[in-house]
Structure formats: structure tokens, C-alpha cells
């Protein structure tokens, strides 16, 4: 009865099912995004909440909308933000590349082992997630600090005479990011490489290509979707990473996540913090969406793989 009534107004089971993810995104992405966007156009003031409202009624008749672009102008004028953006993108880019260089051989090796061993290895890749992320980053402090595990081990082996400063350096940040995000690189790569039809490699060998040529001409190009997925999963969170540079990095290291935190909590300048966040989103999401679209168009409307 109800189903028939719903159908009459054009709602079927199918639309209801597809509505669930849309509703989820609306509730937890679009609405917060609009709120942040709104705040980014207002002006900071000491109040609760600490920004001016965007809309105001004049004489209770005219709705006045005040859009304040000063926050965005400020981002361009003050080169602190530019440097933070560029540095974040650079750090995230290098980390992604290192993750790819470590993760690809690992994913490849896992995909080529016997199925029984494969599950054990995959479990080991995911195992660190059973410990809290924050705890694992703290553990790196214990490893990297001047009288930490690594320095003590190197000194007792006689390789170095005095501790190397590793904590609070860029090196520590790279270690932290690569360590934390490596599984996100391995898993999509593994999912891709595991599907590879091995007869394609036999065909390549049959047509005269040596194993490494087969890898470059068959395996690698066919794993591009996995590479892209892995890189996006590492790069996007790494750009906005806040915890790792704060705990492991040099206090002076400019990362956009830290800048955002400072604006929001220390300066209590919500509008500028929001503008920073919106700009970051535009910087990252738009090129990525454009790229994905181009990919889909090339592979035939995204229907074929």
C-alpha cells in the first residue's frame, strides 16, 4: 500500500536506496561546508560566536547581506599562507612519492604470493590500525628523540659518537607521514595488482618481452588506477596533516594544518581559519575532480575498466 502510494509520487525502492549516501553527504559534508563557507565571508569580532553574522535586518524590512572578502585577500597578501600551502603540498607530495616507492613493491609482492600467505600479509599491513593513531605517533617520539631507541642503538653499535637530532626535523615528519599512510597506498595497489590477469604477462613474454619489459609495458600501465587511488588516499590527508608535524616536526615548520589550528584556536579568528580551509579545498579538490573526469572520459564514460 505504502509502496504503491510512494510510487505514484515517483519514489521507488531504488531512489530510496541511492538517497541514503546522498543524504549522508548532505548532512555531514555539504551543510558543514556551507557553514564554513559562510563564516569565511564574515568578519571576526569578540563575541559568541566570534564572528559577525552575515545577514542583518535593517529596520526589520530590508535583508542586508554583508560579504567580507577581506579574509581571502588577506590569504593572498600575507605570504605566510602561501608558504604554508606550498610547503604542505611539497611535504605531502614527497611523502606520497616515498609511500608509492615503498608501497608498490610491497603490494606487488603480496599480490604474487600464495593466497594463504596473502591474507596473513594483508592482515599485517592493517594491523597497526588496531592501535590508536596518536599513540603510534607518540611512539615515534620515543624512537627518534636524542636518547631514543634509534640513537641509542646507533651509538651502542659505534656507528655514531653523539646523538643525531632527528626529532623536530622535516625528516621526522616524513617518517611519521610515510609510516602512518603507507597502508592507504598498499591496499588500493594490492586490490589492483591482485586482479591483473597473469596470462597478459605470458602473452607479453610470448611476444618477446623480458620480465622487466613486461612489467613496464603491461603491469605498470594497468596498475595506474591503483596508483592514482593510493596517491590520492595518501596525498589528500597528508596535505592537511596536523598531528604529525606538530608532534614530530620543527615548531617553525609551516604546514597549512598547523596554520589553520593557530588561526582557529590561538588567534580565535574563525573567518580567516575558514577561508584557509575553503582555499585548501579549492586548491586540491577541483584539480582532482577535473583529473578524475578526464580519466573517466578516456576509459569510456567510466563504465569500462
Amino acid at each position: 500500500m505504502i509502496a504503491r502510494a510512494l510510487k505514484r509520487v515517483g519514489i521507488t525502492g531504488r531512489t530510496l536506496v541511492t538517497a541514503v549516501p546522498y543524504f549522508w553527504l548532505l548532512l555531514f559534508f555539504l551543510i558543514p561546508f556551507v557553514i564554513v563557507l559562510k563564516i569565511s565571508f564574515s568578519d571576526a569580532q569578540i563575541s559568541m560566536p566570534p564572528y559577525q553574522p552575515l545577514f542583518a535586518w535593517i529596520d526589520e524590512k530590508v535583508l542586508q547581506v554583508q560579504l567580507n572578502f577581506a579574509n581571502y585577500a588577506f590569504l593572498v597578501e600575507d605570504n605566510l599562507y602561501w608558504k604554508a600551502y606550498l610547503n604542505s603540498i611539497f611535504v605531502a607530495g614527497v611523502s606520497t612519492l616515498i609511500c608509492l616507492l615503498i608501497g608498490y613493491p610491497m603490494a606487488y609482492a603480496i599480490a604474487r604470493t600464495r593466497p594463504s600467505t596473502r591474507n596473513v600479509l594483508l592482515l599485517l599491513v592493517v594491523l597497526p590500525f588496531w592501535t590508536s593513531f596518536l599513540l603510534r605517533v607518540y611512539a615515534w617520539i620515543g624512537i627518534l628523540k636524542n636518547n631514543g631507541l634509534l640513537n641509542n642503538a646507533l651509538m651502542s653499535l659505534g656507528i655514531i659518537d653523539e646523538p643525531i637530532r632527528m626529532l623536530q626535523t622535516d625528516f621526522a615528519v616524513y617518517v611519521g607521514i610515510v609510516y602512518s599512510y603507507l597502508p592507504f597506498m598498499i591496499l588500493p595497489l594490492y586490490a589492483n595488482l591482485e586482479k591483473l590477469d597473469l596470462t597478459l604477462l605470458e602473452a607479453a613474454a610470448d611476444l618477446g618481452s623480458r620480465p622487466w619489459e613486461s612489467f613496464l609495458k603491461v603491469t605498470l600501465p594497468l596498475s595506474v588506477p591503483g596508483i592514482i587511488a593510493g596517491c590520492l588516499l595518501v596525498f589528500i590527508p597528508a596535505v592537511g596533516e596536523f598531528v604529525i608535524p606538530t608532534l614530530l616536526g620543527d615548531p617553525g615548520m609551516l604546514m597549512i594544518g598547523k596554520v589553520l589550528w593557530t588561526e582557529f584556536f590561538n588567534n580565535r579568528d574563525w573567518p580567516v581559519a575558514s577561508a584557509v580551509a575553503i582555499a585548501l579545498l579549492l586548491f586540491l579538490v577541483i584539480p582532482i575532480m577535473y583529473y578524475q573526469r578526464a580519466q573517466d572520459a578516456e576509459s569510456g564514460g567510466g563504465l569500462h575498466r
Partner: protein, 381 residues
């Protein structure tokens, strides 16, 4: 059973020429996977320009043998020679052999053109030469206008031709085909069989084809190697395999056959008589049989070589009474299942030469079944 188009041609029988050098020589090759013997002591000579079919049920070792020829598997024992060169330990990328895979294994990220050019690029052939040869090959398999397409935009038959073109463009000495037609529907398969033969004759390449489809093997091949449990059971032309099977297995594998178990009651150099419990009259065969006296033998008679009649045949041999149990009308012929007094069911095919069915033998009729003395094949194993 389809007849080979080769039958009308000049006899091509290099295997009967004692001076002919085999092009591919498989010498006592055994392949084991753990305890499982996939290929068991196979020795086989294949000559230039042959289409040699390895025929057998799945798991009989035919694909393993083909993969050893391609170099994907190493024999546990034995040697393989191609054109006089020992290739036993040669990796696939150095062998003068190309393979057409059952799944076609077309590179999905390359266009048709790039797929076909792949092997030539590996060989560092000059660009102009690659373009020319790829173009010629695509024209040959009638894919000229599909050169820029990606594999997912092609039909099954077109993909099959891409795979063929890619394997042939390198002008291999030997082309290995693993179930080349299995993925095609029946009409396309028949058409492609003849196309394959034409291409093979134009290029003069030696083909080794693996198939489980006996009809495909009969149509394509100059010779068939029938395999069972890793062994070659019989090698011969399609006619030899069908008309002169060397064992019960071969007779029963190829086509359908009525097998009568019996004993030699008369054993002369020019004829034999076989008594079978299933038949009322003995089987008379017009040639001698080499068998121990009193040993069990089997007489195999093909369904199309038996006749039915309402009158009792003259003479003391080669007939028996039967009851029609079932008839399957196939259009061009009808299959009769006849029950003998012993309970054994015999299969007989009759061509439907006349259109009117009034005179035909029908269900539950009592008939006499007879055959010529030349028809039975006597096998001892």
C-alpha cells in the same frame, strides 16, 4: 562429422616420408606437478606446415604440453626441438614461437593496432616496417577499420582475430593455438575454422592446436594426437582416427560407436568370427586380427554403418533382431536407439533421404539390424 577441406587437395603427408625432417620434435617429455603427472613420456614429431591438433578431455595434459612448447612450463624430463634447435630450457621470449591464448590475453590498455604491433616493437623492428606489417595483418584478419579501437569496444569474434593477428605478425615458425574457437558461438566457429585454414595455407606457418572439440579437430587438422591421462593414445589423420581407432578409448572418444564385447570363435589370416553375448548372430570381419586365441576383443561399429530392415537378412552372420526404443529426428538424419534381446541399447543413424515419413521405421517396431563385414573395427584393448 564434418569433412576436412583438405581431402580434395594434393596429398600432404610428410609423416609418411622417411626422409622428411620433423619440424617440432617432442622427445620423451614428462611433466609433473608435485605427484601429479600431467604429461607422461610423450614423443611426437610434427612436420612443417601441418595443422596438428592435440585433442582430449579437460585435464588430459594437452594444454600443459602446449605450454611447454611455448616455454611457460619446463619439462620435468625429456627434450623439445624446434627446427632442429633444442629449446627445452629457452625462455618464452627467446623462442621462435607465438601463442594464441584461449582467453586471447589482449592488452586492455592498448588499441588493436598497438596490440598487434607489440611483438614487433619488442624485436626493435623499424617504425615504417611495423606500420606496414601491422596494416597488412589487420587487413588479413579484416580488422582494418578497427585499428584505433580499444579491446573493450570489440565483439568476441573481433577479439579472437586481434589475438590471431598479434600472434601471426611476428611470422613465427610455429603458432600455438589454445582452444582458439572455444569462446565463439557455433555459426562463427564454423566460419572461423575455414578462415584459420586459409590463413595457415597463405602464410605456411605450422599450427599446433589444442582443443577438446572433436569436430574442430576433424575439420582443422592434418593429423590429430589424441591424449588421455597425459599420454598420447593415437596419432593419425582425422580419417585414420575415426575409421581405424587403435583402442576402445579412441573409438569411443571420437564420434559415437556401438561396442560389442566378445571372443574370437574363428581366427583365420583372412577373416575372423566374433561371438558376442549381446548378438544373436556372430560378427564376421573380412580381415585377420592379431590377438591371442580366446582373448576378449571388442568390435566397434559406427552408427551410420548399420542398417535396419523389416525382413530378416540372409546369411548366418552380421545381423541381430532389435526393438525400436527411441527416435531422435535431427532434420538431416534420425538417430534410432534400438534395444537388443540382451538389454543392450544400440545407436543407429539413418539419413532422411525421403521427405515423406510414412515408410520410416517407427517406435516399438521389431526390426533386424545388420552391417557389412568391412564395418566393424576390432580392438583388443
Amino acid at each position: 562429422m564434418a569433412t576436412s577441406p583438405r581431402d580434395n587437395q594434393v596429398r600432404f603427408e610428410p609423416w609418411k616420408d622417411p626422409d622428411a625432417q620433423p619440424y617440432v620434435r617432442i622427445e620423451r617429455v614428462t611433466k609433473k606437478f608435485g605427484d601429479f603427472v600431467a604429461v607422461d613420456d610423450v614423443t611426437l614429431d610434427i612436420y612443417k606446415k601441418e595443422i596438428f591438433c592435440l585433442l582430449g578431455a579437460s585435464g588430459c595434459g594437452k594444454t600443459t604440453l602446449l605450454r611447454m612448447l611455448a616455454g611457460f612450463e619446463r619439462p620435468t624430463q625429456g627434450r623439445i626441438f624446434i627446427d632442429g634447435v633444442d629449446v627445452t630450457a629457452m625462455p618464452p621470449y627467446e623462442r621462435p614461437v607465438n601463442m594464441m591464448f584461449q582467453s586471447y590475453a589482449i592488452f586492455p590498455h592498448m588499441t588493436v593496432e598497438q596490440n598487434v604491433a607489440f611483438g614487433l616493437k619488442q624485436d626493435r623492428v623499424a617504425k615504417a616496417e611495423i606500420t606496414k606489417r601491422v596494416g597488412e595483418m589487420l587487413d588479413m584478419v579484416k580488422l582494418g577499420q578497427f585499428a584505433k579501437r580499444k579491446p573493450h569496444q570489440l565483439s568476441g569474434g573481433q577479439r579472437q582475430r586481434v589475438a590471431l593477428a598479434r600472434a601471426l605478425v611476428k611470422k613465427p615458425k610455429l603458432l600455438l593455438l589454445d582452444e582458439p574457437l572455444a569462446a565463439l558461438d557455433k555459426k562463427l566457429r564454423e566460419h572461423t575454422q575455414f578462415e584459420l585454414i586459409n590463413i595457415q595455407e597463405t602464410l605456411g606457418v605450422t599450427f599446433i592446436v589444442v582443443t577438446h572439440d572433436q569436430e574442430e579437430a576433424m575439420t582443422l587438422s592434418t593429423r590429430i594426437g589424441l591424449m588421455n591421462h597425459g599420454e598420447i593414445v593415437q596419432v593419425g589423420t582425422p580419417t585414420e582416427i575415426y575409421e581405424y581407432p587403435s583402442s576402445r578409448f579412441v573409438a569411443e572418444f571420437i564420434g559415437s560407436v556401438n561396442m560389442f564385447e566378445g571372443r574370437l570363435t574363428e581366427d583365420e589370416p583372412s577373416y575372423v568370427r566374433i561371438g558376442s553375448d549381446d548378438l544373436e548372430q556372430p560378427i564376421y570381419v573380412d580381415h585377420g586380427v592379431s590377438s591371442a586365441p580366446g582373448a576378449t576383443v571388442w568390435a566397434a561399429i559406427r552408427p551410420e554403418k548399420m542398417q535396419m530392415s523389416r525382413e530378416q537378412p540372409a546369411g548366418p552372420d552380421n545381423w541381430t533382431a532389435a526393438t525400436v526404443q527411441d527416435i531422435a529426428y535431427m532434420g538431416d538424419l534420425s538417430i534410432y536407439l534400438l534395444r537388443l534381446a540382451s538389454g543392450k541399447v544400440v545407436r543407429v543413424t539413418q539419413p532422411n533421404a525421403a521427405r515423406h515419413a510414412d515408410e520410416r521405421i517407427t517406435w516399438d517396431e521389431r526390426v533386424y539390424l545388420s552391417w557389412d563385414p568391412t564395418s566393424p573395427v576390432v580392438v583388443t584393448k
